[in-house]
């Protein structure tokens, strides 16, 4: 991947890639692997971009698909190689930001299902319900209700933890 491609087509969207990758990982090492894999997949898939959607939507979609695939792979590997007695808590946070509230919010997001994580991340990034539906591949009518349900769940998890 050339640095030109990275600087022009990936770096402006690095923010959302970072945010998404953080929601699907719980250690710095995994986060860096996910981030790199997303960047490589964007570079590999660049020829398939048909301009039917925005480049940013394309980037979100690839980021999400890569994160979900890697998470699935990780779960499979864990099932094959790790004994049941070892801790498997997905939400355990092994790295932290300097902002405590953001840390807690991320921990709460990691407790959600894989798709709910994606929906709330895109919502927080101020994507419209239509855009979220386009990226996830679902009906926009259901997104609003789902977002409200996720927010209620997050509030419940965070209740009393954030002042």
């Amino acid at each position: 991947m050339s640095s030109d491609f990275y600087n022009t087509f990936i770096l402006p969207f690095a923010g959302i890639i970072i945010k998404l990758c953080r929601a699907y990982t719980n250690s710095q090492e995994d986060f860096e692997d996910y981030y790199q894999e997303v960047c490589l997949q964007i570079w590999r898939s660049k020829d398939n971009f048909r301009e039917q959607s925005e480049w940013s939507t394309w980037v979100y979609r690839i980021s999400l698909n890569v994160c979900l695939t890697l998470l699935k792979k990780k779960k499979n590997n864990r099932q094959h190689f790790v004994s049941d007695s070892l801790p498997t808590e997905e939400t355990e946070d092994n790295y932290a930001f300097s902002d405590e509230s953001l840390d807690l919010l991320y921990m709460a997001i990691r407790k959600l299902s894989e798709i709910d994580r994606a929906i709330i991340m895109l919502y927080l990034e101020e994507k419209s319900y239509q855009e979220i539906a386009d990226i996830i591949g679902t009906n926009p009518n259901n997104i609003g209700v789902r977002v409200q349900r996720i927010k209620t769940r997050l509030k419940k998890i965070l209740d009393g933890k954030i002042n």
Binding site: M1, Y6, L11, A14, G15, I17, I18, K19, F31, E32, D33, Y35, Q36, E37, C39, L40, R44, F97, S98, D99, S101, L102, L104, L105, L124, K151, L154, K155, L158, D159, G160, K161, I162, N163
Partner: protein
């Protein structure tokens, strides 16, 4: 909870450390090592499976009455395992510290050598295995006499003017040589087919990774 989720999100990312992108590095190295480790694991399991099978077959062949087949199988497969184990040792010597492309190149060369050696072996292996089956059943005890001799005497009763060479019908020798010849000729191809079934996916991934790296280098 006083702050809204939206505010926590917005304010949290205003701080400088939250959006630092990691550097793109080492991913191909990790991928290359992962693919090759996977291949090594599969190769090792394959060798263990051959050893277990040859042992089990040796025991079964004794009880079925074809110990000669079992013994030839055992010796032949043991030789195959020994040769492949020494090839695997060569693979262990590839330096993981090399850059990804070099590492994959060396692995690719190792694969080519391994395939070439095993193709040559297969040209002998399949005929030997076939011959061991013929010999095993020929000398199998059938009510006091060897099954082959019993079969031969029945054939000679039906066709008394059959042409024999060293007491064996010429037609039988011709068919045997023909089958052995075909197995020797197609041995390499049978091996390649077998190899693709077991390791096809790993080879495909390896090819994709090398193509990627080559396009990155250009």
């Amino acid at each position: 909870m006083e702050k809204s989720i939206e505010n926590i999100w917005k304010e949290g990312f205003l701080k400088s450390d939250a959006l630092v992108a990691p550097k793109i590095n080492d991913l191909y190295n990790k991928k290359s090592i992962h693919i090759i480790d996977k291949f090594k694991r599969m190769f090792r399991i394959n060798l263990i499976a051959i050893v277990v099978f040859s042992f089990a077959f040796l025991i079964v062949s004794y009880f079925v009455g074809i110990p000669l087949t079992g013994a030839i199988f055992f010796v032949t497969l043991t030789v195959l395992v020994v040769i492949n184990k020494s090839l695997l040792n060569g693979l262990e010597r590839i330096d993981k510290g090399e850059n990804s492309y070099q590492y994959l190149k060396e692995f690719d060369q190792w694969i080519k050598k391994q395939v070439a050696v095993n193709k040559r072996i297969s040209k002998v292996l399949y005929p030997v295995i076939f011959m061991s089956l013929i010999l095993g059943f020929w000398f199998k005890d059938a009510e006091g006499i060897a099954l082959g001799e019993r079969l031969l005497s029945e054939v000679l009763n039906r066709f008394p003017d059959m042409h024999l060479i060293y007491g064996i019908p010429l037609i039988g020798i011709v068919v045997l040589i023909l089958v052995l010849g075909l197995l020797a000729f197609f041995g390499g191809r049978i091996y390649q087919w077998d190899l693709n079934i077991v390791y096809g996916r790993v080879f495909k991934k390896l090819e994709e990774l090398m193509t990627d790296l080559e396009s990155l280098n250009t």
